[in-house]
Symmetry: C3
Subunit: 334 residues, 3 copies
């Protein structure tokens, strides 16, 4: 190696960025913005029209540290970014914990196991047709990101995994009926969410349950199956009354969903059907969401897509107009 | 190459940080804080005195991904940081989009083309004497960072570029007069901002216009010219009434500015004059801002500066006291 | 060097992350969450129970730039992250400044010298037993992070350092009594905080004082001494009345603290005693905090710990119940 080559070599090394960051740290995010045209049958002001909307855009840092003996420290701080309206950051999943052969324990803020159990069912996740859409659009309940979480994720054994999240109530006084007197919500498990999942080749199935004084009794079943380029999915979700929970239903709510995604080279065609009965526990407040979409994957990180979402309510005494949304979006992961 | 050299080479490479970040991602920011001494002729309490102020300090992540075929995905998430008072982050320009030979399309939140057309005119940009100072200080209107932007930037052809931003009103109900009834502000272009710029060697000229129901009718002309170490600039800006806009002027406002910057080695002497007539559309509410400054560029990234800003109002029935600000600041880009 | 080796060398260099970041920039943070069991003698609702709490978790960027001639630009933007409840970021120390042989000048937001003078005294810093606990728990006053700071840090000479922070009042109108009329709080030093510290081998001593119209008159003495694996510490803090300050005590408050930390290999046993007299300036409102803890340092960056904190008030007419907290936490620095 002559001196000139050595100089090149060292220069090349030094040209690498001189950022100092902890080993294993990763900065990441998703920039996802859509242009939406929404039409309402009765032409309701402020509901229909054109919209530019940030769709769960996010920015985060995460990482792990090898502690030896098969043990790792893990952490994540993820923030929501309202790229259309420029508010400050909001909190998403944020935790610190330890991971080893016996599983992982996380402390912080996290999606409940019931939310996570959907797996890849929702082929319109993070879009205007996300299955957890707003109350007037017949979305599926149970997609909760909980504060004050103590979570345990078992190792995967034979494709099976259990996840448990304990949710201390921390004396929450904002619930109806309030956590007071004989039910002070000061325990370590005022809310509990637990899921069981099983993966075997093309099959994924999961079941989950929320219960306790500070969460509604959500129950969720989900399954997806891959046949070559086609993925099909099924979801069933119920939410029921529970004295002391934060919504105090008088009736049960049920939701059922079917999804399909068909890959064509780099692109994909997608369809999804969600049907909700007695939405929010209101008798006879039903509705369906039907969505069709086309994804152009410009790269592994960049997708341009279009979708058509049709919401059809069947509500006694509630909003009863059909609504159609055409949404064109760009999603870029970094 | 002997083994020792190889070892050095590999060690140097491995010593590079182990951060994982998407290719092309960049974290950047500006830390800019000033110490200001403000004097008001009548000694108004709470207006005069000493101040430590963060001046548009910011932190962001931006990047691009090569999608092949001349196409790129581009994104930016930029946040304001109140380094003097420690609030949370605020949103600045934030977008995701695609860029190719036919130009660039961005979705999100962005300065309007009218704001951008100023180019390098404002030699006191981001200081206490920024041309867009507060309402009582005869600042230039039209420096808008808009939510819900669909922007198109043409390629530069022969030094010329066009930028268009469409601003959907999204049923905005906070305007005066409100966007309701026959004017529901539910279109894709309830506001439009468009600019044309031309650059040729030392010359830069630009013209821009805002119009629509959700923005005032701002019109802006800007030009800068470089003569060796000297840059001179000119700006003309008008804001006029428009039924349905968000300010509902009863009169027009006009602003005119002249700026000069003279480089002396690493340092620079700067001067700027802004004159505003009928500020905020109030007849006979005039004023001028005269600013002199000296920049010591400690490096390409770090500047220490001092400036003297003199505000002279000529307002019938309004604040009428002269105000003088001496501001010493440090600005560091990273 | 043959071509193959050259290729390996260059490949290794290129394999380094392609992040672009300013030279010397560092992204860092602490993810620190605890599970706490709090018991109150009288079983007060909403005070006792189980809690998951983020403990001063943070995320920041900091760096420096060599300006030549012994001069550096320095900056930091540090944010608090509520990892348990997912709010947005909050501001912590944030500044930009210059550092050279004559010392360092910082502008922005920073802990006062009086806060910093504690050095390593508080062996439960950032835990539930942080010496600056809430008003009802006999914490030590004077741990202030001030807005609008102009700080000067002298170079260390013979182990001695002086730090001065000037705090302009900026016409603050929220104080009691208000900064108005003859006391408009518009100066550059409406508050001043100054500290002197001395380090020599195992010994650290420091003294600091706050004074002025916008801060209480806090006075603090701190000392730590290391004897092999044992560190012992002492703290004395007083807060006294001052017309025009923001708390308007009618009595003085005094606090005294003792701490000890004993390293056992990678782990450590810790104990701390804090006694406060006339808390908040209320005569006969006394209390003590006694804390014992055990740290398991899983690595230089990851600590798992448990602590027991016992608060014993002795308050005439105030909260008078003993409180016990058991806190188990994970803290990971990155």
């Amino acid at each position: 190696m002559n001196k000139r080559l050595l100089a090149i070599t060292i220069a090349a090394s030094l040209a690498a960025p001189l950022t100092v960051m902890a080993e294993g740290a990763e900065i990441y995010g998703i920039a996802h913005v859509t242009v939406d045209k929404i039409s309402v049958d009765d032409g309701s002001a402020n509901a229909e029209g054109w919209f530019v909307t940030s769709r769960n855009s996010r920015l985060g840092v995460k990482g792990s540290e090898d502690l030896g003996g098969g043990l790792k420290a893990v952490y994540k701080m993820e923030f929501g970014v309202a790229m259309d309206s420029g508010g400050g950051l909001t909190g998403r999943n944020q935790y610190v914990g330890l991971s080893g052969g016996m599983g992982t324990v996380l402390l912080g803020r996290h999606d409940t196991p019931t939310k996570m159990v959907q797996g890849k069912f929702d082929v319109f996740n993070d879009t205007i047709a996300d299955m957890a859409t707003t109350a007037t659009h017949a979305g599926v309940s149970g997609d909760i990101r909980a504060d004050n979480v103590i979570a345990y994720l078992s190792p995967k054994m034979g494709g099976m995994q259990m996840i448990v999240a304990l949710l201390p109530g921390e004396g929450n006084t904002t619930l109806t009926p309030a956590c007071t007197g004989t039910s002070p919500c000061d325990g370590i498990s005022d809310g509990v969410s637990v899921s069981f999942t099983y993966e075997a080749g093309p099959l994924y199935v999961g079941a989950a349950l929320d219960s306790g004084d500070i969460v509604a009794d959500n129950m969720r079943l989900a399954a997806t199956y891959n046949m070559d380029a086609l993925q099909v999915g099924f979801l069933y979700n119920t939410k029921s009354d529970d004295a002391g929970d934060d919504t105090d239903f008088t009736d049960d709510e049920k939701a059922m969903g079917l999804s399909a995604k068909f890959a064509m080279g780099d692109n994909a065609v997608k369809a999804q059907y969600i049907s909700v009965t007695d939405f929010g526990g209101t008798a006879n407040a039903d509705g369906t969401n039907m969505t069709f979409g086309y994804d152009m994957n410009m790269s592994a990180r960049t997708t341009v897509y279009a979708l058509l979402n049709m919401y059809s309510p069947d509500v006694a005494g509630g909003p009863s107009e059909d609504e159609t949304a055409l949404s064109v979006g760009v999603s870029h992961s970094f």
